[in-house]
Amino acid sequence: MAPEIATPQVPAEQRKQNRLGLILPDYQGSASTLCAGCGHDSITNQIIRAYFEMGIPPHMVAKMSGIGCSSKTPAYFVNKGHGFNAVHGRMPAIATGAVLGNKHLYTIGVSGDGDTASIGMGQFVHLLHRNVPMIYIMENNGVYGLTKGQFSATADLGSKSKWGKDNPAEPIDCCAMAVELGCAFVARSFSGDTKQMLAIFKAALAHKGTAFIDIVSPCITFNNHEGSTKSYKWAKDHEEQIHEIGFVPFFEQVEAEVKPGETREVQFQDGSRVRFKAVGKDYDPTNKEQALSELFKTQKERSFLTGILYLNPKQKDFCTELDTVDPPLATLPESLTRPPKEVLEEVMERLR
């Protein structure tokens, strides 16, 4: 019988303990069943590392997904967290519900470009609109992998299919849309850029609200050829970091000088900080107008800009707005959820 969980390889460096005394393999999941070389697997590895380094209790992780190759990945990380493979395009509703039931969970949703930008567009938009506290990763490869290579709505105009056909439509830019919709954490990255992904994921874990991360993650089987604008080669050749990202968690404070024009720092509600070091020009990720104008420019110039494009850690999130009691609604005792007999009597009296 095949082992249920892949036997983790634990090199010496991985025996390092985090603040909970757990080691990296405590955050691993089942063995991936995706194609060898799939961009999604390298994203999975950085998710594992981020949750480990941030010292997130694995049992408090809720892993949500829709349908597609990307949506299989929650089975491949943090096995001690509960996972939910929902229906196509409807992960946002399931995730929102889970947050309603237990606002203390660390909720992460992994979706793809088909699951998000086509069938799931409605729910995606409203998740952002509500600012549900969770991480939403869109593993973006421009094609439907699990149904064998049809173009998705994020495929670039003129990008070639495996069979030589040009994509006839302009892409939907989910990052620009997210900024417009008021999402307070919008990032774009590349599955080949492990260092940047890790920093973004850790910052996303510190953020209270929806953290939307669009990651170009090449499909090795159906969209990695010459003429594709979502191939490894294309992404490597075209990635432009808008800044370098350094993350300082609240439990490991290190002071560093902030040099105007070169570095910027943004603090999250939990005290964690993210530092941005300018690459080329100074970019202010807290400036919505600048974020949108950069994104419009990338659309026009077909460039591939990565980093945390927009960030506003102070924006009110969904749970703050709902203002429920502190314990999870899921486990409230009957004494708090069933009003006493006198209350029913009072209501009946009014109706007599």
Partner: protein, 609 residues
């Protein structure tokens, strides 16, 4: 119009006490609802059983609407097809309204309407100068349009000998937090009464006399009742998308939650409400919240169920609790969205793809809607699946006289949820294993701090350990267990209420809001034709042995329901095999609530009597 429909003068009639129906024909949005409710309450407070039904259009203001009150000393509260008293307030429908009256009926009309009393010499007419009366009693011109309605209440109080003080009492109760509004309306009712007393000679036989048949009863609509049931069942998450007629259930629940479910110690909510972007999202949120362990529900109508179907199937296969209040109504798109129907039985019993089956509960009055709301949560969490509470527009949006609700006697049943202590004791957890032989597996909630607590939730492709599997025997094992689980339901859903009539060859099966008309029809058949009938009132699907026995013991069984195709009849036919030929259909499908005379006539014609 000069043609006379029925030339005869009304004959002097013997008094008719506590047995009549009143219809108020008015314009939607004119504010008549309060007046009509006050009239109904006044009769109710005099101890006379009564009911109120609002027939309204899909419109905010301007289209015609009719409100019918039935008072009946014997407790018949179903819709009565024939009207006794009509109040004409709507110029657009006045001729049709008058033409539809039976001979001998009473017609009150606004003097400004172009009515020629000669067209129906068989009616008793009362002409009322509403504008003049309201001008005198209501100095604020802006309020006149609204309080005009209270004038006909005052006039009817005089004509029907309803104690005016009861109307005042009802108004004070209704406007408990707005004493000024109560005063304006009290003055208008008094003015109508005084005018009638000074100017009208009573020429009709209808009268209200005090009885004591409403003691301990309440007046409430079914959506408020179900909402209250959910609040007392400890609901913690409500998600919804507005759709008539279920919106009022959600809005009532939100009001009750805000009033009674704020934590006293912290002032914070012990619940969360989300108005979703559509029904796909509202049911998705219910599943997510239930999966996390909350008591979650949504309310919708037929079109919403259609949209929710994929998730309802996921709830069945992944075994996640959900409570759906379906306030049934007619038609998709435009059509009759504000009219009643028992039309979602087929859809809800098998919603989604594959071999899905779902339990349905059928409350027939507000008190049962309250109880079943609570039962639905217990069943959904115990059985880890979707449970439907099947109301309809008639129950949901109309005022019903009901028994007062009983406070729940049992603690909440949160089902088979394993805690950290349970896991420590057991040392083993397999999410989809039938440990107890009832088909119901155990579950853990996210956030349970134990190394074996977690599992991965998927659709149908999993084995007992919740691991991904496409193996034929894993799929079949799971499906067989789900079938066992559904069998277990039979003994746990509310059983039917059965009344065997000695010597009866005919059996009636009805459910939900067809109940009141069915009871009345049985009395009509017995009293008028000597036809005896037994009666089984279904309260849930799946059915139990008592239903099979009932069908076996009768020659013919009439399944009475409010849809065209006999959806419940067909579900029963699947259940009883060869005996299905005994099942006959009494199908009422006009958008208007079923009435007893329709049932009686349909049965008599099928019986050849």
């Amino acid at each position: 119009m000069t043609t006379s429909l029925a030339p005869d003068k009304p004959k002097v009639q013997a008094p008719v006490i506590n047995d009549f129906s009143i219809e108020v024909a008015t314009v939607n949005g004119s504010g008549s609802q309060t007046a009509n409710n006050m009239l109904m309450r006044s009769i109710f407070q005099m101890g006379v059983p009564c009911s109120g039904k609002n027939l309204f259009p899909s419109n905010i203001a301007g289209l015609p609407t009719w409100f019918t009150i039935r008072a009946n000393k014997d407790g018949y509260i179903a819709r009565k097809a024939e009207l006794d008293i009509l109040v004409c307030m709507n110029p657009d429908t006045v001729f049709e309204d008058i033409q539809n009256l039976r001979s001998g009926a009473v017609c009150l009309y606004n003097e400004e309407l172009p009515v020629n009393e000669d067209i129906r010499k068989d009616l008793t007419w009362y002409k009322i100068p509403f504008a003049r009366i309201v001008k005198e009693c209501c100095p604020d011109a802006k309020l006149r349009r609204l309080v005009t309605n209270m004038i006909y209440v005052g006039v009817l109080d005089f004509l029907l000998e309803i104690d005016l003080q009861e109307t005042f009492k009802a108004l004070k109760k209704n406007f408990a937090r707005k004493p000024k509004a109560a005063d304006v309306n009290i003055v208008a009712a008094q003015a109508g009464y005084d005018w009638a007393k000074a100017n009208l000679v009573k020429r009709d036989p209808f009268r209200v006399q005090r009885m004591n048949k409403t003691q301990g009863k309440i007046i409430i609509d079914g959506t408020s009742a179900a909402a209250l049931g959910a609040v007392f069942a400890g609901v913690t998450v409500l998600t919804w998308y507005p759709i008539t007629p279920s919106s009022s259930l959600c809005e009532a629940m939100i009001d009750y939650l805000n009033e009674y479910r704020m934590d006293k110690a912290t002032g914070k909510a012990t619940f969360a409400v989300v108005q979703a972007e559509d029904e796909l999202a509202s049911i998705g949120m219910v599943l997510g919240a239930s999966w996390a362990g909350a008591r979650a529900c949504t309310a919708t109508a037929g079109p919403g169920i259609s949209l929710m179907s994929e998730f309802i199937g996921l709830s069945y296969y992944a075994e996640i609790p959900a409570v759906i209040f379906d306030v049934q109504r007619t038609g998709p798109s435009t059509g009759l969205p504000t009219r009643t129907m028992q039309g979602d039985i087929r859809q809800c019993s098998g919603a989604s793809h594959g071999d899905t089956k779902h339990p349905l509960l059928f409350p027939s009055d507000p008190s049962e809607a309250f109880d079943m709301a609570g039962q639905a949560f217990d069943l959904a969490e115990r059985f880890q699946t979707t449970v439907f509470v099947m109301l309809d527009l008639d129950l949901g949006m109309n005022n019903w006289m009901s028994d007062a609700f009983n406070y729940p006697t049992k603690p909440l049943d949160r089902g088979k949820v394993l805690s950290v202590e349970d896991l420590k004791r057991l040392g083993k957890f397999e999410r989809y294993r039938d440990v107890d032989g009832d088909g119901i597996p155990y579950r853990t909630l996210p956030g349970t701090d134990h190394p074996i607590a977690s599992y991965f939730t998927r659709g149908s492709g999993h084995n007992e350990k919740a691991l991904y599997s496409e193996k034929p025997h894993d799929y079949k094992n799971n499906m067989d267990r789900l079938a066992r689980k559904f069998e277990t339901f039979r003994a746990h859903v509310p059983g039917p209420v059965v009344e065997y009539e000695p010597g009866a060859e005919i059996g009636f099966i009805a459910f939900g809001t067809s109940h009141a008309a069915t009871q009345e029809s049985r009395d009509q058949l017995r009293n008028e034709k000597g036809v005896k009938t037994s009666y089984l009132r279904l309260r849930a699907y799946p059915f139990n042995q008592a239903v099979r026995d009932f069908i076996s013991r009768h020659k013919h069984v009439y399944v009475i329901e409010q849809n065209r195709d006999g959806q419940m009849r067909d579900l029963l036919a699947l259940e009883v095999g060869g005996e299905c030929t005994k099942l006959r259909r009494v199908n009422h499908y006009t958008g208007v609530a079923i009435d007893a005379r329709f049932i009686t006539n349909t049965v008599l014609s099928q019986e050849g009597k």
